[in-house]
């Protein structure tokens, strides 16, 4: 039997693997493949492409802080006072930073979010197949598949 499970990077994955070994699947009968989300040739030498969204949050935070200092100061002469002016200015700053970044960043096609980080392939007897699948499902596997190839 061949059983294939896909997992995210998680502590549950490590638990699943140690559990499989403890129920009698020897380490040699496990094949663990770490999956890439970006083809190797596209992985640039420099910064890993960050999601545009998270860059926007960073710029938003920076602008929020800057405007908030100005808003807080001006609040001492404006009617609503420093706290409300500071908070409003921070909010406006965040929206400005985030918005300007969104407007000027190149519209890149949003790829579907990659999920499976690791594929685990297990070769085992028919009798163990049920238990192996149960361990995988119980430990945050995304997908689990079974191939009925005779191994004996």
């Amino acid at each position: 039997m061949i059983i294939i499970g896909t997992f995210p990077h998680s502590i549950e994955l490590e638990y699943a693997l140690t559990k499989l070994e403890s129920i009698g699947i020897s380490r040699e009968r496990l094949l663990v493949v770490c999956m890439e989300h970006v083809p190797r040739e596209f992985q640039t030498d420099h910064q890993k492409r960050e999601s545009s969204h998270s860059k926007g949050v960073e710029i938003g935070m920076a602008c929020a802080t800057a405007l908030s200092v100005i808003g807080t100061s001006l609040g001492f002469i404006w009617t609503w006072g420093p706290i409300i002016c500071g908070i409003i200015a921070a909010f406006i700053g965040f929206c400005l930073g985030f918005g300007i970044h969104a407007a000027f960043s190149k519209k890149t096609r949003q790829l579907p979010k990659p999920k499976a980080d690791v594929s685990v392939i297990v070769q085992c007897h028919a009798g163990q197949a049920g238990e192996v699948q149960r361990v995988m499902w119980a430990n945050s596997a995304f997908t689990v598949g079974l191939a009925r190839v005779s191994d004996e």
Binding site: I2, H9, S10, I11, L13, E14, L17, R27, E28, R29, L30, L31, V32, C34, D45, H46, Q47, K48, S54, V57, E58, M61, A62, A64, T65, A66, S68, V69, I70, G71, T72, S73, L74, G75, F76, I77, T79, W80, G81, P82, I83, I84, G86, A90, D117, V118, I121, V122, Q123, H125, D151, E152
Partner: protein, 257 residues
């Protein structure tokens, strides 16, 4: 595990210290918002801490924050009068040199990061100390940011960066009490807008936007760092442990059970 020449990350009692890709401009900006914050982003916690202390002390002595409030409100004469010339020039020199130093360090740390990634030295995953347990764990950047938004330092606590967490929480308590910010907030919520302004102390209040912004930003990116390190470490471990697999998907299995 031999000590590596260009390690990517280290676990200590105080949390995870690692190299990471940082935009030098963001580091420069956070140094401008609060001298020392740029160094915190670069994991240079000791110098960051001392720089923030120095900022608070000399800003207070020179009345810089008060002068900023007066200037932005258009009261230039009062701004000139309140600044203490004994401290202002030195303050400005340190302010800009610290910005430049953090920028330069960010550029250099980015280079170190690329080398460390290529060298693939073994990464730590957890460590037990007599007084602490430290491990790299997947974290939610959003949760970290929200924690620090409510009370700067809590996001750092969530990210296991305990030294900075308690340092930030201690200072936030001081800012709240010296600026009377929470008192003013209660006045606002109970509809006493006029009292809410008079009760505030502008000098201490003006530190707060930068501190809360910096704490949120730091918590957010450190959570992302945890996730990256967790993934890298797990890959290292899996590739190492299951290297000798004899699973054959096609043809005869090499290892008859």
């Amino acid at each position: 595990m031999n000590p590596s020449r260009r390690p990517l990350a280290k676990l200590s009692v105080f949390g995870v210290t690692s190299l990471n890709i940082r935009s030098p401009y963001m580091v420069l900006w956070w140094s401008a918002a609060f001298p020392g914050f740029g160094h915190f982003l670069l994991n240079q916690y000791l110098r960051g801490t001392i720089l923030t202390l120095s900022e608070v002390i000399f800003n207070t002595l020179g009345h810089i924050n008060i002068a900023i409030v007066y200037s932005l409100c258009g009261k230039f004469e009062q701004a000139k009068a309140v600044l203490d010339p004994r401290w202002v020039l030195g303050y400005i020199i340190i302010y800009f040199i610290v910005m430049w130093d953090s920028y330069r360090s960010a550029v250099y740390q980015n280079k170190l990061y690329h080398i460390a990634r290529l060298e693939r030295e073994p990464l730590p995953s957890m460590k037990l100390f007599a007084s602490e347990v430290q491990y790299i764990q997947p974290k939610s950047p959003l949760v970290a940011a929200v924690f620090s938004l409510f009370f700067p330092g809590l996001g750092q606590l969530y990210n296991h960066r305990i030294g900075l967490a308690f340092y930030a929480m201690f200072w936030w308590w001081l800012y709240i009490s010296l600026s009377h910010a929470h008192e003013a907030l209660i006045h606002i919520l109970t509809g006493h807008i006029a009292e809410s302004v008079t009760v505030l102390n502008p000098h201490w209040l003006l530190f707060m936007p930068s501190v809360i912004g910096g704490a949120v930003y730091h918590a957010y990116i450190k959570a992302k760092e945890h996730n990256l390190l967790f993934n890298l470490e797990q890959r290292q471990y899996l590739n190492n442990r299951y290297r000798s697999s004899s699973v054959q998907l096609f043809g005869r299995s090499g290892d008859k059970a």
